[in-house]
Every structure is written in structure tokens, then in C-alpha cells.
Amino acid sequence: MLLRVEDLNVYYGEAVHALRNVSFEVQEGEILSIIGANGAGKSTLMWTLIGQLKPRSGKITFRGEVMKPVPHAVVSAGMALVPERRRLFPNLTVRENLMMGAYLRGDRGAVQKDLEYIFSLFPILKERLNQYAGTLSGGQQQMVATARGLMSRPKLLLMDEPSLGLAPILVNQIFETIQEISRQGTTILLVEQNAKKSLAIAHRAYVLEVGCIVRTGTGQELLNDPAVQAAYLGVSQHKEVILEGKEPC
């Protein structure tokens, strides 16, 4: 087991209970999707996993070790986050943005080789290396953000809404890239609003709803689940079917 999350509870202040007893697992080598609507707690989950948000209770075990909420410890253990809305440093060049992803690594030669791997995934970035990241198009910025995540050579790549705000043709490209990264041996935890596409490429998936995990199965099972179809895939004939558990946990 690569990642095991047990009974995670995260609050914002006292009033907002953002994650409620969330438990799930990620197996080595898979693409795991978590789908859910706006405000379901998807990003909260990502920022908690990377150690930036402190959970009130619960346990995160990664590669057999219990993770403390300290981002640089989590990153050196082998996790990396590609955050929602990319969060590039627009005042830095593309090269500098990528090197920020490799901040904890001392092996210069290997970092250089990983740059080659990045260029094989995103050839356009080679031409853009010395350009300021703020001048790139949205699609290219998403490439840099993904590449920056890969530069730490993570065992587990956390991807938060990579398709957000991209044109449809770029959305297809980004999902293909995710599969390619997975084939190269990086495990991926993908959080998406684009349920259809992310379930289609997922080995397994969970449905997150107002802070609770309400469904799980393989990507295909959830795609065929009438309740999931009604709630997330916009299949109209199933509108009367609603996911059970308005009080999910």
C-alpha cells in the first residue's frame, strides 16, 4: 500500500468541518480518482495530504511511515502536489519554476536527465525555458505546473483539477499526459470535477460529498453507477436517482 488515509478530520476554524472521517487507500502504480462537486473538500484533502493543512484527527501513512503535517518532510518522503489553478511563479522563468520543483534534490546530473523526460512529455517547454511563466498560455502553464510536480521525482503525484479552465482539446491532452505519467511508473491521485474523463482513466475511484466518502469502486463501475451518472455525469433519465446519504457520515 502506497498511501493509507484513516479517519481524517479537517476543520476550518470551529464552524466548518471540511473533511469527515475520510478513509481511503492508494495502491502503487494506479491512477486513483476522487470526484466531487465544488466545496466537497477535494482541495482540502490535497493540501492536508501534502502537509500544509493540519488535520484535527486521523492518520496518513505513506510508504509505511506516518506523515506529520510538515510539507518539506512530506515532499522528501516522495509526494508532490500540482495545485488547483497551477500556482506558478509568474516572476520566475519556466526553468526556474521547474528547478523550484527539484529544490530538495542535490543530484544535478539526475535533475538534468529528468528535464529531458519533461521535454519528452511536453516538447513545447523546451522552447519556453527562459520565458517568464506568467507569459505562457493557460495550457502551457498547466504543463509547467505538472512538470514542476514531477521534478521532485515523486512516488505519488497529487493532481488537483488539472483540467480546470482549459479548452476541450487541451483537456483531452492533459488526461492523455496523466496516463503517460502513470505508465512511466508514477502513482497518481487525481481530483477532478470533470467526472466523466477522470473516471474513464482511473483504475479506482472514490466519490467525495460534503466532506465524506460516499461511494467507491473501479472507474468503470462508477461510470455505470446510475446514482453517479445522475449526480456527476448529467445523464438526464436518471435524474430521479439521487445518491443516498444527505447525511452521509
Binding site: 495545485p83 511563479f89 516572476n91
Partner: protein, 296 residues
């Protein structure tokens, strides 16, 4: 005469720039005005005085380096004691600023209580300080301060642009949370930030001590450097450099101007603070300041 004034202006301006850079570095990442910077600069000058005059009889260069190091370490401890807990609790920047003012008052009064309120002189670097070019009398110390300030700022620029930690500092000036999530230990980064700001401040303190005197309230001069940083745009490094030097030049030009029978030198500080007020009214982001960007 005008040549002489420009040299003096560049000299004081470059010392302003040294101090202003310290304000801007801290502001760019932590978003607050570190008003304890003046006290750190003062302590830098006192360390030089202890090394060169009162305790040891060191020569200038080792004393300068040790004073810079000492001021950097003091700045580091100020951060640890007065700011780090506030930072970890994500306190609003106003709290940090108030804490900084407290540190400034405390350190200054520690100096009054221990070393006393006396004025001390640092030994001059050059036995014969002035030389003449035509009718102009130029101070060697002015040239020296200008050259060394420029070198120090150039080195800082190299660190910021070509090292890993410098790149991280620039990245953090835009989005420190993201920097942290990429694996940078923010506490270490902030420590480096204060070491850099403090040691440049220490250098400025030593130069001020040689040019004028060493006394507990000498840190007041950082108000001018702060104006320089605001003129250039708080948080911007080129802004701090240009703003500091510009202010120094303008001040020394104003000081020698006589209109009718009125010597404007009496109004020098009125002039400096007047510029600050005008700037805040008409261009609050300064010359190089970041425009407030709407983030998606």
C-alpha cells in the same frame, strides 16, 4: 561644487540603498515593514565600535566583516523571538509590524541602559580624507562607501538570481505557501532572508558610524532609507536601490540650494518626508512597485 554635492549624494544615497534593500527583502516575502531594522543597524555600528575602539583594536576590514555577521545574526534572533510565532499563526502583518516597533524600542533602550547615551567615533579609514579635483573637494570615505555599497548590493543580486535559495526567495515573494509545498523549509528561508538583510544593514551601520557618530538613536536614519524603499516601491529590490540613491542625491542637492537668503538645508527632512507624502498620494506603489494584481 555641484560635482562634490553629487558625490556626497551618491555616497549617502548608496548607504540608504543598503538599508532600503533590507526593508524590501523582508517586505517582499513577509509583507510587513520591519521597523526593527534601524536597531539592527545601530547594533552593527556598536559591534564595529567594540571591535575597533573599545575592546579590541582591530583594523577596518575584519571589523567590517564581523560587524556584518554580527548584525545578521542579531536580525536572525529578532526574527526567531519576535516574528516566527506570529508567522506560524498566520497573524496579520500589522501584528508583525507592531512587534517590530517593540523590538526597536527595546534594543535602543538596552543600549542606553548598558553602553550609555554617549556619542562615539569610529576611526577614519583614510588618514587624509579629502582630495581635490579642480575646485571640488572630494571625500575618500564617500567614494569608498559608494563603491562598497554597490559591491554588496551586486553580490546580493547575484545570490537572489543565481542560487537555489535566492530563486526560492523570489518565488516566495510571489507565493510563499506554494514554495513551502514544493519542499522548501520556510523557517530556513526566512532565516536566510534576515541574515542577508541584517548583514547589509550592519555594513550601512559601520559606514554611518565612520561618517558621523555611533549613538543609540542613530537608527533613526533608517526612516530615510524606508522613504527610499517606498519611493522605489516596497518589496522591489531595484526599487529600493534606485529609491535610496535618488533620495540621497536629492537631499544633498537640496542641502546646498539657497533661494534668496533662505538656505534650504534647514528644510532637508521636510523635503524628504514631503516626497513621501506626495508619493503615497499619487503613486502608492512607488516607481517599481508591483501593481496590485487581481488573482483568479
Amino acid at each position: 561644487m555641484i560635482f562634490q554635492t553629487i558625490i556626497t549624494g551618491l555616497s549617502i544615497g548608496s548607504i540608504y540603498a543598503l538599508m532600503a534593500v533590507g526593508y524590501s527583502l523582508v517586505f517582499s516575502v513577509l509583507n510587513f515593514s520591519n521597523f526593527a531594522h534601524g536597531a539592527v543597524i545601530t547594533l552593527g555600528a556598536y559591534i564595529a565600535w567594540a571591535l575597533m575602539v573599545s575592546v579590541f583594536k582591530m583594523s577596518f576590514f575584519p571589523a567590517l566583516l564581523l560587524s556584518m555577521l554580527g548584525a545578521g545574526i542579531i536580525a536572525f534572533f529578532v526574527e526567531r523571538i519576535a516574528y516566527s510565532t506570529l508567522r506560524h499563526r498566520r497573524a496579520p502583518s500589522l501584528f508583525l509590524m507592531i512587534s517590530a516597533m517593540g523590538v526597536a524600542i527595546a534594543l535602543q533602550n538596552v543600549l542606553y541602559a548598558t553602553v550609555g547615551a554617549n556619542l562615539y567615533a569610529l576611526p577614519p579609514i583614510f588618514t587624509q580624507d579629502t582630495f581635490s579635483i579642480g575646485a571640488a573637494t572630494i571625500s575618500r570615505m564617500d567614494i569608498f562607501a559608494f563603491v562598497f555599497s554597490v559591491i554588496a548590493i551586486a553580490l546580493l543580486t547575484i545570490v537572489l538570481n543565481y542560487t537555489k535559495v535566492g530563486t526560492a526567495i523570489r518565488a516566495a515573494s510571489y507565493d510563499s505557501e506554494m514554495v513551502s509545498v514544493l519542499g522548501v523549509n520556510l523557517d530556513v528561508l526566512v532565516a536566510v532572508l534576515f541574515l542577508l538583510a541584517g548583514s547589509l544593514g550592519g555594513m550601512a551601520g559601520v559606514f554611518m558610524g565612520i561618517k558621523y557618530m555611533v549613538y543609540p538613536s542613530m537608527g533613526w536614519i533608517t526612516n530615510k532609507a524606508y522613504i527610499g524603499a517606498v519611493i522605489g516601491g516596497l518589496g522591489s529590490l531595484p526599487g529600493a536601490i534606485v529609491g535610496g540613491i535618488l533620495l540621497g542625491l536629492l537631499e544633498s542637492l537640496v542641502s546646498v540650494t539657497v533661494i534668496g537668503s533662505v538656505h534650504l538645508s534647514t528644510f532637508r527632512d521636510v523635503f524628504s518626508f514631503g516626497i513621501l507624502v506626495l508619493l503615497l498620494v499619487f503613486r502608492p506603489t512607488g516607481l517599481f512597485g508591483r501593481h496590485v494584481e487581481e488573482k483568479l
